[in-house]
């Protein structure tokens, strides 16, 4: 057993190192599935937007496969699908991703998980990455999702992206205080 290398904060000055071209594109225009945008704002406990956060997404494609090199499951064969996104928030704390709705993927005990996207939140003032998930408010499968069922009912809503119109969802991230987003230990 080797000791893990500890986390440290991203700090405020990371754009020139970590912002990538088309980082907001999780699935390209030709990817199979229903194309959606997911936008939101990251806020602190005072309600102030974070102009210096980095949001990363990881998700399955429209057939429920991850684009992963050597995973425990077949990799995505959709060449227009990346599954990974990375965006720095703007001056108003906003982020936006372009993707496709992920299909359901296997969950614990032979269940299927509801469609979801894994999220990593990094920023000045965040020493160890915060991990959460985006679920979609209009997905009936949410009712039978094992992970959601582990979240206290009154806080589950913080994990649900709100449908703004046919192809847009809104998912705000609150780091602390009223409406604090659920973060995971995994």
């Amino acid at each position: 057993m080797r000791g893990l290398t500890p986390f440290q904060t991203l700090g405020p000055f990371f754009d020139f190192g970590l912002v990538i071209p088309d980082g907001e594109v999780v699935a390209q225009a030709g990817a199979a599935g229903r194309h959606v945008t997911i936008e939101g704002v990251v806020r602190d406990s005072a309600g102030s937007p974070l102009p210096d956060a980095l949001i990363e997404l990881w998700q399955a494609d429209a057939s429920g496969r991850y684009r992963t090199p050597a995973g425990p499951q077949n990799t995505s064969t959709d060449r227009e699908f990346d599954g990974f996104g990375r965006v720095a928030t703007d001056a108003g704390g906003q982020f936006l991703f372009k993707t496709v709705m992920p299909a359901r993927v296997p969950g614990p005990d032979a269940t299927l998980q509801a469609p979801h996207i894994a999220v990593g939140v990094l920023a000045r003032g965040i020493l160890t990455r915060l991990v959460t998930r985006i679920y979609f408010e209009d997905e009936p499968a949410n009712r039978e999702d094992t992970i959601l069922s582990l979240v206290p009912a009154e806080r589950r809503g913080t994990l649900l992206a709100r449908r703004v119109d046919s192809d847009r969802y809104r998912f705000d991230i609150v780091l602390q205080g009223a409406g604090e987003t659920v973060f995971f230990d995994v």
């Binding site: 057993m1 080797r2 000791g3 893990l4 290398t5 500890p6 986390f7 440290q8 904060t9 700090g11 405020p12 000055f13 020139f16 190192g17 970590l18 990538i20 071209p21 088309d22 980082g23 406990s45 974070l50 210096d52 990363e56 990881w58 998700q59 399955a60 991850y66 992963t68 090199p69 995973g71 425990p72 499951q73 990346d82 599954g83 990974f84 993927v105 296997p106 998980q113 979801h116 894994a118 990593g120 990094l122 920023a123 003032g125 965040i126 020493l127 915060l130 094992t146 992970i147 582990l150 206290p152 806080r155 780091l175 602390q176 604090e180 659920v182 973060f183 995971f184 230990d185 995994v186």
Partner: protein, 229 residues
């Protein structure tokens, strides 16, 4: 499945000595969830082509940057000691004067037109990476009175899955500022903290050219029997 990080390895987000954490750390307990396919997969090579100049930060402009040229190299391993090949390593840092090439950095120190301060590379088959760069300078920040960050290089790594993702900072041996730095000292376990200090390495040092430092990085990795899906 991946082992949980031992207590004290990663800094708590509620670290009052580092003022920016005050309004930005969750106060509700983290919800413990099982590891699923979502967390056990991840992007090893998330984007773009990597050029040779991407790993030599002294060769990204017409002229040479000012400062002390250094080589920083090491291996990326998982917690069972297995090398992680072909994984992306990204770095970013201040220049020799302690100034970032970033629009918001207001430190009264000169920018260097020949130094951007960002690099990336892929590990080789043995998990090795290597950068040539400039030793970054210390710089002041406003966390507390007369606060200075020790010289450091930021690192970003992916490893084998979403769970192995790591953002960290590498420090230099003997830096007198480390005992005063709330970010470095936010790591509760002293041994874990010291893993962030690179070792000066005479075998890596290139005669008449550059000092060498070795910084091995250990990420969470799979252990036990593979997950059934």
């Amino acid at each position: 499945m991946y082992r949980k990080p031992p207590a004290g390895t990663h800094p708590p987000n509620d670290s009052p000595g580092y003022k920016s954490t005050a309004l930005r750390h969750p106060k509700q307990p983290l919800v413990i969830i099982p590891q699923t396919l979502t967390e056990l997969t991840g992007p090893a090579y998330p984007y773009g082509r990597i050029e040779t100049s991407d790993s030599d930060l002294t060769r990204q402009h017409d002229g040479e940057p000012l400062g002390e040229r250094i080589i920083v190299q090491g291996r990326v391993l998982d917690d069972e000691g297995r090398p992680i090949p072909k994984t992306l390593v990204e770095i970013w840092q201040a220049n020799a004067a302690g100034r970032y090439a970033h629009r918001v950095d207001q430190h009264e120190a000169p920018l260097d037109p020949n130094f951007s301060g960002a690099g990336r590379t892929l590990t080789d088959a043995d998990g090795r990476y290597r950068f040539t760069t400039i030793r970054p300078g210390a710089y002041p920040w406003r966390n507390h009175d007369n606060a200075w960050r020790p010289a450091h290089i930021h690192f970003s790594l992916f490893g084998t899955s979403f769970l192995s993702r790591l953002i960290t900072q590498m420090y230099f041996p003997g830096d007198p500022l480390m005992p005063f730095d709330p970010i470095f000292n936010s790591i509760p376990d002293e041994e874990a903290r010291e893993r962030l200090i690179a070792g000066f390495d005479l075998t890596v040092t290139k005669p008449e050219w550059a000092l060498g430092f070795t910084f091995d990085i250990v990420l969470r990795g799979p252990n036990g029997t593979p997950m059934e899906t």
